[in-house]
């Protein structure tokens, strides 16, 4: 084998390995989703969405309360977490770019991502539940928002940093103030990335159980009152999966399937919207 052939062979091997890696990744995706699909679909019933929980032995129970509660908690968390995260990331990547403050906040955010979520739940418990004297939905939302903030903040920072500096200079040259440059030029350039970050963060918190356990608690009854305990899918899954009854396991699988499906649909939809918007 001469040098030329050896190089070509090496390239072939490396590229085949890369292809294998891609297949490896896709394999797990299909495997996991397929498994959840099979378990979930067989347990999926209309009553899951239209009825509130019944105790074991009484058929026809559903998780209407948990679907509603999960939606409320997640939406409120997103409304708190996303603006804070995006604005904070903007500060790091724009106004404070390259400063020590930016580096420090950035490192702190990276660390916050790995704080166990149960600890965040405890933290929020200490500041929003114990002083109030009862569990409440707001506390759950804030706990999820706290998890979201560093994720959104860091992706925003990264994505804004990827927008070429020359683009800003061009806008400055036209006499635009910095905030206009940011909102009209930089954000536009980094929108795809930021949105991905937001979606990833929603996906991250939508599946969280531990921070809700001691904040929004759970509620066996239908309730949209954020001032009191409110149901969530994840806590319900957690409780049902641990119980001894087949019916509960079925509902836990169906709920898992729904959570996964919704999260995946959001992710894919987000992608499609971006593609459509920027084509």
């Amino acid at each position: 084998m001469n040098v030329e052939e050896k190089r070509k062979f090496e390239s072939l091997v490396a590229l085949s390995l890369s292809t294998l890696a891609a297949i490896f990744g896709l394999f797990w995706l299909v495997f996991i989703l397929g498994d959840v699909l099979i378990h979930g679909m067989s347990a999926l019933k209309l009553s899951l969405f239209t009825h509130d929980p019944t105790p074991p032995g009484v058929t026809g129970g559903g998780l209407r309360n948990a679907f509603m509660g999960q939606l409320l908690i997640t939406v409120v968390a997103t409304l708190i977490g996303v603006p804070v995260g995006v604005l904070g990331g903007t500060f790091l990547a724009e106004y404070a770019r390259g400063t020590r403050i930016a580096q420090l906040v950035s490192i702190l955010s990276d660390i916050m991502v790995s704080v166990p979520s149960i600890v965040i739940g405890t933290f929020i418990y200490a500041i929003l539940v114990k002083p109030v004297g009862h569990f409440n939905g707001w506390a759950g939302s804030v706990a999820l928002a706290v998890i979201m903030i560093p994720v959104v903040l860091r992706t925003t920072e990264d994505m804004l940093s990827l927008v070429p500096w020359t683009l800003r200079e061009a806008a400055f040259a036209l006499g635009a103030p910095y905030y206009k440059v940011i909102t009209q030029v930089v954000y536009r350039g980094a929108a795809t990335g930021i949105l991905t970050g937001i979606l990833l963060s929603i996906a991250r918190v939508a599946g969280e159980t531990a921070p809700l356990l001691f904040t929004s608690f759970n509620n066996s009854f239908f309730s949209t009152e954020m001032k009191g305990p409110i149901a969530s899918l994840t806590v319900s899954i957690f409780q049902y999966a641990m119980g001894p009854y087949d019916e509960w396991h079925q509902q836990a699988w169906a709920a898992s399937f729904m959570i996964t499906a919704v999260i995946l649909v959001i992710t894919i939809l987000g992608r499609l919207i971006i593609r459509w918007r920027y084509k």
Partner: protein
């Protein structure tokens, strides 16, 4: 660029708002730190720092607690997960940017990112009900009877293959962190200027040589960033491993044994901890994880900044 734009009032208020938003992170993290220290003070007072970190005893009955076993479990699962995930993730990024036909690039990219979208409790349930039986029935016996017989390396694969062990937990962790490294590496690869790549091709470089000698060095920064993010994520992952690690406080050389990570200990024992000292020690563990993440990420950041200085411009 000055941090506060004083010339324009709108600009000034906008910069103040963003500054405040980023400051919430500092506020939250110090808040969490204060809460952690306050809650663990009882345990810190009893066990001190060095004794807690080096003691392998975790005995709720005698109220004697040490973090060494949990720290060991955290490091070994994270380490093995990274060993599996990093090559796979870089391979995926290379595939998407350099090999895949154009119409497949987006779908495969999205598909890999979907792996990150699956909630960790789903990974946990899937791990317990589906992956663990496969590991115990097929993969682990195979590993035991092949590599397990090799001296030295074989110590990694001893014991009963139950499927609830370090290996299974690491595999699940690695699947979870692949998309983080992969998507960031892909974005970084894409930033490599086409001109540079094309000039390499024009002098007769093979595709692999372009990746190895042009794209990878150029995008090192991003790849490191992705790995750092994965590492951070893996250190703090709870639910996915809680179901399949077995929560056994021991230091073991075999990957087929159960172990405990800091997060798994918290998930398994936090809600049932009945004495103050027990609960306080669990908070102490959380504090250790917090500091551990801090150090790991600070080191990662240090390298990133050095790399940045070296490669920028």
């Amino acid at each position: 660029m000055p941090i506060l734009q004083r010339k324009n009032p709108v600009d000034l208020s906008f910069s103040l708002i963003t500054a405040f938003a980023s400051f919430t992170v500092v506020l939250l993290i110090s808040g969490i730190f204060v809460v952690l220290v306050r809650e663990s003070s009882l345990s810190i007072g009893k066990f001190g720092v060095l004794k807690f970190l080096t003691s392998t005893e975790w005995n709720p009955v005698t109220e004697s607690f040490g973090a060494a076993t949990a720290i060991y479990g955290t490091f070994i699962t994270t380490g093995i997960a990274l060993i599996i995930a990093i090559p796979a993730a870089i391979g995926i990024a290379v595939f998407i940017t350099e090999i895949s036909p154009n119409f497949l690039k987006a779908p495969i990219g999205v598909a890999i990112e979907l792996l990150a979208a699956i909630p960790s409790i789903i990974y946990g349930m899937w791990g317990l009900f589906t992956l663990a039986p496969i590991m115990s029935r097929y993969i682990e016996p195979a590993l035991k009877s092949s590599i397990g017989k090799v001296p030295l390396l074989g110590t990694l694969f001893q014991g009963t293959p139950m499927g609830i062990d370090i290996l299974t937990a690491s595999v699940i962790l690695s699947i979870m962190i692949i998309p983080f490294t992969a998507s960031i590496a892909r974005d970084a690869f894409n930033l490599t200027p086409a001109v540079v790549k094309e000039s390499a091709y024009s002098v007769g470089a093979t595709k692999w040589e372009v990746v190895k000698d042009v794209v990878l060095p150029y995008s090192k920064l991003g790849v490191f960033g992705g790995i750092a993010l994965s590492l951070g994520r893996a250190l703090g992952e709870t639910m996915a491993v809680a179901f399949v690690l077995g929560n056994n406080h021991q230091i073991t050389s075999s990957l087929l044994n159960a172990a405990a990570t800091i997060t798994v200990t918290l998930a398994n024992e936090f809600t049932e901890a009945d004495t103050d000292m027990y609960l306080s020690s669990l908070f102490y563990l959380a504090l250790v994880l917090f500091v551990l993440s801090f150090i790991v990420l600070a080191i990662a950041k240090y390298f990133l900044l050095r790399a940045e200085r070296k490669y920028s411009r």
